[in-house]
Symmetry: C2
Subunit: 429 residues, 2 copies
Amino acid sequence: MEKPVKVGLLGLGVVGTGVLEILADHQEKIEKSIGCPLTVAKALVRPTEDKENLAKKYNLQLVHELTDIIEDPEIDIVVEVMGRIEPAKTFISEALKAGKHVVTANKDLLAQHGSELASLAHEQKRNLYYEASVAGGIPILRTIANSLAADDIQEVLGIVNGTTNYMLTKMVTEQMDYDTALKQAQELGFAESDPTNDVDGIDAAYKMVILSKFAFGMTITMDQVKVKGIRGLSGKDVTAADQLGYTVKLIGSTVKKNGSIAAEVGPVLVPSDHPLASIHNEFNAVFVKSSGIGESMYYGPGAGSRPTATSIVADLMTIVNKIQLGTIGHRFSEYTQPTQLTPPEEIVSKYFLSLKMPDETGQFLQLAEIMANAGAGLEQVVQEKATVENARVVVITHKMSETTMSQIQKDIAEKTNFELLSTMKVMGE
Amino acid sequence: MEKPVKVGLLGLGVVGTGVLEILADHQEKIEKSIGCPLTVAKALVRPTEDKENLAKKYNLQLVHELTDIIEDPEIDIVVEVMGRIEPAKTFISEALKAGKHVVTANKDLLAQHGSELASLAHEQKRNLYYEASVAGGIPILRTIANSLAADDIQEVLGIVNGTTNYMLTKMVTEQMDYDTALKQAQELGFAESDPTNDVDGIDAAYKMVILSKFAFGMTITMDQVKVKGIRGLSGKDVTAADQLGYTVKLIGSTVKKNGSIAAEVGPVLVPSDHPLASIHNEFNAVFVKSSGIGESMYYGPGAGSRPTATSIVADLMTIVNKIQLGTIGHRFSEYTQPTQLTPPEEIVSKYFLSLKMPDETGQFLQLAEIMANAGAGLEQVVQEKATVENARVVVITHKMSETTMSQIQKDIAEKTNFELLSTMKVMGE
């Protein structure tokens, strides 16, 4: 048995504690696999945090200064589980400069400064791994980097935010309204008291930035992802979609077309027989369309202390293997292509429109004219029985470009008395 | 750019042709990833096979003798895509002894002689990879070996035979009977003219032997897998299951309990909201329950020329990386545990029973007595309206051991006039 590999933890919250648990619970299998013990020697905590019991239970030393970890020659790998941008970014940079390998689950940081940190790690000939940053327990990054290396990926579609998927599941299966679903997600601990990052799609967008890099080798920025959340999504629209054979899901997508990509997050009508439609509650799934394999999907928990920690420990074991074999310093994703964005006029989709229009003769004709002028066809139309003076009309269009859709929205606003209640993209040919 | 790595193909059928296609279609990405071209230099075919057009198109040499490939110093890796046990086994052994790395998709061979071949590869310090042998395009073996290395797996449940899943999908969704579904699967090319290996569960059993090794480190033999197929499965039972909230699937399972495992293939009633219930047509999926991640599932095509070839090429690229890094000779799955089988009295499950009983007073009491004597409880009972003189009764029991179930079957045969039409396990707590 070789001497143990020692790890320094930056942060000791739920995920940090999960790492301690997984290392302890699966100690025998881990040792057998990597040929040596893997232990957390030190954890960086704030002086105000009371973590003495944890430290005692897992036999580790609590420290309050980064240097106590990165200047310790016994420590080989640093695990960052503090979250947010700073001081995490500085700490990871300092750790890499001090010659430590780094594992992190920090999606916000990687989406915004991933390239910079990956380059720093490469310069320092150190490994930077972050499997847990996308879809927690699902090993999607390693799968794309290794198993799909022989394939040509065309689309990655993900349910990569557990909070909103939980809410949408409740809205579909129990006809719960948006506010009740959010409240319940908060009570169950899925949503934070400020749910902005989840319900506005920002968290999912971070993950699509990282997935775009792995799937297509392209580095995009957050402002290049078109982001729409589910805030205020109407239960009526969810029900209307259901009746038309669709399930509303918050889908993060990154799609390649003629060498350029478009990344987007938004509520999408998914055909009910599509594998993504059956992903319920807080679960995540990533659906990949590629020219070799065809359709594949990877499903599991998107968050949670133990699933996230399991991914972190898998990263740790990969690094230990590489240290032992002397093959360190390779990037997690080596695939690089020039970044090219698809222009809006080439991004095509079917659309769902929900409208309120005065219950008068000739109103529907107006809508039909606007659509015909834009060259857009209608696939399905449902008009509800008029209540008081307004009719609610739900429409699914044939495929059209984002530019055409913008024109239609503009025409509806300028030429009619309709209220455009919502628009969503619709998956399918 | 380094000099090309050259591959020798043993066999040039649909999968072999797929390998040529994938290498050609994704050439640029593959070269970029491994830093050198990867080409097939020679293919072993029978003298009677006419493959001249393929050879010309992909610029490779056709040979008729194994030695032409394994004695060629230019060839680094041999890909076996002939199928069946012999001569594949001899050819792979000879290739390893001649110092070649080997990639194969041969599940029959690996399930029956995998340990022997893996040991030979290890002795020869060569790599033997076979991702494509289980669930074609789904990278399940690598995922278990790498990403789940930090986890403790409890159960692996797979829909790992596309033919039978296609047939069952038709039987459930279109109320097709067994014979019609089989005929359609044959017409579509999913089932061979002799469908024995598929419908009798043998193909799925091969895969469960391989998955047991990866998930639990245990080497079991085919006769240690309890195998039941779907041959002659009654459409009535499929419909009855559907009405009770279950979907019948052919499930391969390998389950750990107190350090021992039980591997099995058979038709199972899967709760309709379980992720495996929504795997339709010829698709495959492997569902993993583990203590760290919890529930995860990997979905994709189980067969087909291009998906299988994509997995093979991913294996080739892994080997090229290892050759370049000088880290060859490790086993595909390093995890090894002493093999221990769970005794039947500890294997528990709910059961579905479908019975025909005379339409006379007191018959049901007899069944209830047999169940009560065995200590088995009933969870759901459906009695159909009697036709002529017989009543058809469908029962779902509470959990009981295989031993108890055997006793009940024996009692029904000896003490009653019932006809036990079928028994299936039922997934769930």
